[in-house]
Symmetry: C2
């Protein structure tokens, strides 16, 4: 099942069920007005949405069907109560450390890094991404994320996977020039992490078939900058912490409310021929090779697209396609 | 005007207008079902709520009035889209540094420290506060917080104050033993910051009279541990960054959605005779005086109350009164 949120009817938009090929959709006001409402009552709502999705797939009730237009989509959750982003590709963290000549503590391989991002203002797949100053070092971060139902405190890794209800793609924009000063203060990211953008649709795990296993998404995550391929690392390869591990980590001292978004962090493979998912990594590799970075950060007017395709080459989540603009 | 949320009618509870003396309240389903709904449309909703509050004060329509019981209250926003907590009492930060023999960068006096807390699970004023292990160093943090409407990106300090729509009190529970390891990882707090508790009511700034000026609350914040007074520092004294400054800082790279909660951080005065607002500070003072901390962190069964009184000795927000319990 694929779900999206049309930008209409208020701050939380309107939930639609979307056809697998992303050409058609249907509003479901009688089932759930918004995706948050659906997640709040997932056990009873999910079967009804699945029934509607099956009817849509089989062309039943076509009179109520709308053409699906990603440009009309808000983020699947236009605002969410919790957005926690991991840094699950530890090879990327290791590389960052290496570039500045620092060893990485061994605990980084067993204890996940996470930070909490802003969730009150999430960008849709075709929204402009506004930034105040190009000197802030504007960067993409192509990621995969899951959306959970209610997760109890102290959930074990082996139980955490059942709480994954939906998956989505993310561009977790970063402001690289603001990060060192902010992290030096010791409280983590805040100004350096502006509003995050999401793919047009969120999908249930079964849409991924056997590409969803071990609580990881085993497909390449393809990003382009200004139409040029930038990277296609596999999201299931070199993911040190599965989503189950990230969820379990997040619940050590707190409950997660329905609609919590848990991100993978920048997807990154040891196989550097597959490119990167953020400019910072590419620049680090350039620095290691040439002594200095060569690729600039993003400028106003640049476009970043992020997409994932199934084995048959069909888009799974639709494309994020955001333009960097001056605030 | 004073507002609260009764724990009924779903995850977001039901909004009530509360009498100034906190004895009576009235549901307002015809105006706004929830506090978030009110904040989403504050310009049109606020006058209607104010009218209802005036009628309640003057005893009009008493048949619809309920007795107000803080034990029935959820947090004013039982879940929120954004909870950003400052560390505005820089003397406290300076003390923390001093205790470990570290200088504080001069920029800490001009550049606010903030972190983003969990907002999908906020505790009511009489809820038990659940923790997995007393060895985690359970601590209170008595704070003041404001709730904003929509705040544009790059809001200036001089414009930020107009976005303060409500004020509330906070116990921003901390797990001190988890903080050093987590901060050493460089991404800031997550596991060390469990669910935050809120006072029974949130109030409009005018309820504070001239105690609300310069975007600070000029009243003592009184906390007790197991019935013993623990501290009564003045929230308006030694607050290096006003709420306007904290809001402006938060909007440098992002918009704030309606219902954003902005916290002051642990209230702390240079005048140590007024006590502290967290055990960590008291322990640091003991360490500086005696070479070692003497006061233990909280244990299961301990109770923490936090309250603020007006000049006539009347409670403004009602009392937080939470018991520390084993998860």
């Amino acid at each position: 099942m694929k779900l999206a949120t049309l930008r209409r009817g208020g701050r939380d938009g309107r939930l639609v069920v979307v056809s697998r090929d992303l050409t058609r959709c249907r509003l479901v006001p009688g089932i759930a007005p918004t995706l948050q409402a659906a997640l709040d009552d997932w056990v009873s709502v999910e079967p009804k949405l699945a029934e509607c999705a099956a009817a849509l797939e089989h062309g039943v009730g076509n009179s109520e069907v709308l053409p699906f237009d990603p440009a009309q989509c808000a983020a699947p959750l236009p605002r969410a109560y919790h957005w926690v982003d991991g840094s699950a590709y530890v090879n990327h963290v290791e590389l960052v450390r290496k570039a500045r000549g620092a060893d990485m503590p061994a605990s980084f391989w067993t204890d996940p890094l996470v930070y909490q991002g802003g969730s009150d203002d999430l960008l849709g797949a075709r929204d402009d991404a506004p930034f105040g100053d190009a000197a802030w070092g504007i960067d993409l971060e192509a990621e995969v994320a899951v959306i959970t139902d209610d997760v109890p405190m102290a959930t074990r890794v082996e139980d955490a996977g059942t709480h994954v209800k939906l998956l989505t793609l993310v561009n977790d924009w970063s402001l690289r020039a603001l990060i060192p000063g902010e992290l030096a203060k010791g409280f983590g990211f805040y100004q350096s992490k502006p509003a995050t953008a999401f793919s047009p649709v969120a999908v249930t795990p079964n849409e991924l078939g056997d590409a969803w296993r071990d609580c990881k998404v085993h497909r390449p995550l393809v990003s382009h900058v200004n139409g040029q391929e930038f990277g296609r690392p596999d999201a299931g390869t070199d993911m040190t912490f599965s989503f189950a591990q990230l969820i379990a980590h997040a619940t050590k001292t707190r409950r997660l409310g329905a609609g919590t978004i848990v991100g993978s962090g920048t997807v990154s493979n040891y196989d550097r021929s597959l490119g990167s998912s953020c400019l910072a990594e590419k620049r680090l590799l350039e620095q290691l090779e040439h002594g200095t970075p060569r690729t600039p950060f993003l400028q106003f007017g640049d476009r970043v697209t992020i997409e994932m395709f199934d084995a048959a080459g069909k888009t799974i989540f639709g494309a994020l396609d955001n333009r960097v603009v001056k605030q």
